[in-house]
């Protein structure tokens, strides 16, 4: 096909996908129901792959479809389905609008060693059981973080301005939402990637996708043997170079009339740019000879093998630095948390941290803001992976939203009744900090909020009551810690269960008779 309609179809499709994904991450009102997330995220390559391979969910077959799609059509995924890719296209377009001569398109050599190194490192670490590099490089998760950290606050500011104006007229259908920033350290990586993808795309189009992105590199390998591809029509091409200048991937060598298929993302700009109808997209012609693989492959294989060995060691080092945090003891009455608390449905810290790519979708979807990006709570390698932060909120007893939205299988679905008996941690009472003990006045905010009454009040001095925790029925929801008014350290906090346990059901007994007359 030579029609420039291809490019327009791609543009329209991509814009729709981008809008959908932006909405997914800024939907602070929870307009999208729990059931909408699965289908929307089904085709995202890395989440689907992790869910299938690591979490063992056999229905998570989206990545297989993407692989087949790539073998058939090339890197269509990168231009049509990858939200980060499409977002970068908008940056590139902005770059073109601002200063066309500033934008550096035109054929360039690929950074072959760099891109394959990144792919090999990522894959090797994953094989050994570490998701760390993928957490940082997965394009879907990177996109999610950009939305969560930088776009959602802007949306909230606009919302609050609107709510302020409407509120003057007693219209409350748009409500204000307090904007609370995350811990500063959690911003480092998202900020770096905002700059990296933004600047690279602004000037060099898809350079990030063709150099850094491991998904791009992997799909690029398959694209080399794809059934449909971009190609030159030798007879019509006048070597004017317009195609190369329109190519975001800098992969068209018009002098040699060749396209580097490993970098071509099927944007179809070249077809549109060619005045002579000299570029087309169609079925591969078998007469053309493939490249001679002998020499390159030998060295490549050696390199891959070497990297694997190196990385096995590297991964162990990272692990030793603490995926599972080691206990830190302090002599003060600060909240002496031995373990962070991973979300319900994650089964435990190790399971969670080995599957989560920190896309932050659950952080946005959580109605109580209890899910917050971690800094070093899961260890250095777990940066940005969400943890239950009971100073920001507490886990709503009847809510299972995070378990419904997670695309990677790091948080697996839980039925509400099962969730209410899933103990993600246990409350620990620090009597020395408690108001009832220090001020000798009533409080009980912790017990007030406790949904199971694991935290209940027992007689103290005089008429005063003081909290006590029944471990076996505590589910670690953190309502007590959130509600506790003492500062800087709370008098009750939840210590995580490294492996989630089953809580007992709270016991109930029937009440005595009901009064039939007023007792006054």
């Amino acid at each position: 096909m030579k029609s420039s309609a291809l490019k327009h179809i791609r543009t329209v499709f991509a814009v729709l996908v981008l809008l959908l994904f932006v909405f997914l991450f800024v939907d602070f009102r929870g307009v999208l129901g729990d059931k909408a997330f699965g289908p929307i995220l089904y085709l995202q390559f890395v989440p689907s792959f992790l869910k299938f391979v690591i979490a063992g969910v056999v229905t998570s077959t989206g990545f297989i479809i993407v692989l087949i799609l790539t073998l058939l059509t090339g890197r269509t995924y990168c231009s049509f389905l990858c939200p980060l890719g499409i977002l970068q296209d908008t940056f590139s377009r902005a770059g073109g609008l601002v200063k066309r001569r500033f934008r550096k398109y035109g054929y360039k050599k690929p950074y072959t060693i760099l891109r394959y190194s990144i792919l090999v490192i990522t894959a090797a670490l994953l094989a050994i059981g570490g998701v760390y590099v993928l957490t940082i490089l997965d394009p879907y998760s990177t996109f999610g973080r950009l939305m969560t950290y930088f776009v959602q606050p802007v949306v909230l500011v606009i919302n609050n301005l609107l709510a302020g104006i409407l509120g003057k007229f007693d219209i409350y259908s748009v409500y204000r939402v307090d904007i609370k920033p995350y811990e500063l350290a959690a911003y480092i990586i998202p900020a770096a990637f905002l700059l990296l993808t933004g600047l690279l795309a602004f000037r060099y189009g898809r350079l990030y996708c063709n150099t850094v992105c491991p998904v791009g590199t992997l799909l690029g390998l398959l694209s080399k043997v794809s059934l449909f591809r971009i190609r030159f029509d030798e007879d019509k091409c006048t070597r004017c170079g317009r195609c190369a200048m329109a190519c975001k991937s800098s992969c068209i060598d018009f002098l040699n009339k060749s396209v580097d298929l490993s970098r071509c993302v099927n944007c179809f700009n070249c077809i549109d740019a060619c005045k002579e109808n000299g570029m087309s997209y169609g079925l591969v012609r078998l007469k053309r000879q493939q490249m001679n693989p002998d020499e390159t492959d030998a060295s490549r294989r050696g390199f891959i093998a070497g990297s694997l060995v190196l990385l096995a060691g590297g991964s162990q080092l990272l692990k030793a630095q603490g995926t599972t945090p080691s206990p830190t003891k302090d002599s003060t009455v600060r909240e002496d948390r031995l373990y962070p608390v991973s979300p319900p449905g994650s089964s435990g810290i190790e399971m969670f941290t080995s599957r989560c790519t920190a896309c932050t979708l659950c952080v946005n979807a959580c109605p109580t803001n209890v899910l917050q990006p971690s800094t070093n709570q899961y260890g250095f390698a777990g940066i940005m992976q969400p943890r239950m932060d009971f100073h920001s909120g507490f886990c709503n007893y009847d809510c299972t939203r995070c378990t419904d939205v997670c695309p990677t299988g790091a948080i697996m679905p839980l039925m509400p009744e099962a969730k209410k008996l899933t103990q993600i941690g246990k409350a620990v009472f620090i009597k020395e900090n408690c108001i009832v003990n220090t001020e000798k006045t009533a409080c009980g905010a912790c017990s007030e909020h406790c949904p199971t009454k694991a935290c209940h009040m027992v007689p103290f001095e005089g008429r005063l009551l003081i909290p006590e925790v029944k471990d076996e029925i505590c589910i670690g929801c953190g309502a007590c810690e959130y509600a506790c008014p003492t500062r800087p350290f709370r008098a009750i906090f939840v210590d995580g269960n490294p492996i989630h346990e089953a809580a007992s059901k709270p016991e109930t007994e029937e009440l005595k008779e009901v009064p039939s007359e007023f007792p006054f």
């Binding site: 929870g30 609050n160 302020g164 509120g167 007693d170 409350y172 409500y175 204000r176 939402v177 307090d178 109605p367 109580t368 709503n396 007893y397 009847d398 809510c399 108001i435 001020e439 006045t441 009533a442 409080c443 009980g444 905010a445 017990s447 007030e448 909020h449 406790c450 949904p451 199971t452 009454k453 209940h456 009040m457 008429r463 009551l465 509600a483 008014p485 003492t486 709270p506 109930t508 007994e509 029937e510 009440l511 009901v514 009064p515 007359e517 007023f518 007792p519 006054f520």
Partner: protein, 308 residues
């Protein structure tokens, strides 16, 4: 109470009340035995009916809603919507009662009626699952958010012992009439929650109260100049333990009662007694009575008791 029974009885009461109102008004129905103005009573106590029907009877004894709401006024109805629990759990004010109060306000000529609470659980879930949001919409009133600090304005509490300042919701300041509709419950912090305690849902920083002698703060807030004009206490299903959130329906006692008063100490004292506690044993009631905020001695009150 079984969920089925609850639904059946609520539905029945709703239908009966609806029919009642559509036949030319409940006010006329009582015209023959019109009771003296509510000013004479310290407390109206109704027992044996459904919440909405008991309210019809109770407000009539106070001279109708017109006693409190005048034409063109802006009314705030403040139920307890603190928890993300369904109505059967008795953790929040009965939605049918809230609806009926709003209907009375509009009949009395209210221009607008607003409802909100600064909830403990996630506010959107509380509003929805308490069924109060729907009841409010059905009655034609507005459900207002209370989730952001920016909705609250700082006021001073004159003569407060511990609480001298509080950030209160803008609607408390801007409404002409303020109707307090607590649900009577056991409460792990304050022993009991009723009319006085329900005010913790119109302020922003509850933690301050907890840190600074909770019961004194509850009593102190009652000194603030913008007081509720009427208190309506839902004692239909009374949570006797595990409050204020409740663990199961086994915590409830089906007392089928409703009380009305313009004195929040009096209504709380009656609530305490209903729960089997001496009013003086509930610290914030005793403190409020001691500060002259209202009457606590049930024996000396003029109480109008009614049974349905």
């Amino acid at each position: 109470m079984k969920r089925r029974n609850f639904l059946r009885s609520s539905l029945g009461a709703g239908l009966a009340a609806g029919a009642f109102m559509s036949f030319g008004g409940y006010e006329k129905a009582f015209a023959g035995k019109r009771l003296p103005s509510g000013a004479d009573y310290d407390l109206i106590a109704v027992m044996g009916g459904e919440p909405a029907a008991m309210f019809d009877m109770g407000i009539q004894a106070l001279g109708g809603m017109g006693t409190f709401v005048k034409k063109g006024q802006k009314v705030l109805v403040k139920p307890n919507i603190g928890w993300d629990v369904v109505p059967e759990k008795g953790g929040n004010t009965n939605p049918a009662l809230v609806k009926r109060i709003i209907e009375h306000c509009y009949r009395a000529g209210a221009k607008e009626v607003f409802v909100f609470d600064n909830t403990c659980d996630n506010w959107i879930k509380c509003y929805k699952n308490s069924a109060i949001e729907q009841a409010v919409k059905d009655a034609g009133a507005k459900m207002v958010p209370g989730n952001s600090e920016s909705y609250y304005q700082e006021v001073t509490i004159p003569n407060g012992k511990k609480l001298t300042k509080a950030k209160v919701h803008e609607l408390v300041l801007s409404s002409d009439v303020f109707i307090n509709v607590p649900i009577l419950k056991h409460h792990s912090s304050a022993m009991m929650t009723g009319a006085l305690k329900n005010m913790m849902g119109v302020v922003w920083d509850r933690g301050y109260w907890h840190r600074n002698h909770l019961n004194q703060c509850i009593a102190d807030y009652a000194l603030y100049s913008k007081k509720p004009n009427l208190h309506v206490m839902d004692a239909y299903n009374v949570m006797m333990r595990n409050g204020p959130r409740g663990v199961s329906v086994a915590d409830l006692s089906n007392m089928k009662s409703l009380m009305l008063s313009t004195d929040w100490v009096a209504i709380d004292a009656a609530g305490a007694k209903l729960m089997g506690k001496e009013p003086s044993s509930v610290e914030h009631i005793a403190l409020a009575a001691g500060m002259g905020i209202g009457k606590m001695d049930l024996a000396t009150m003029n109480i109008h008791r009614m049974k349905m």
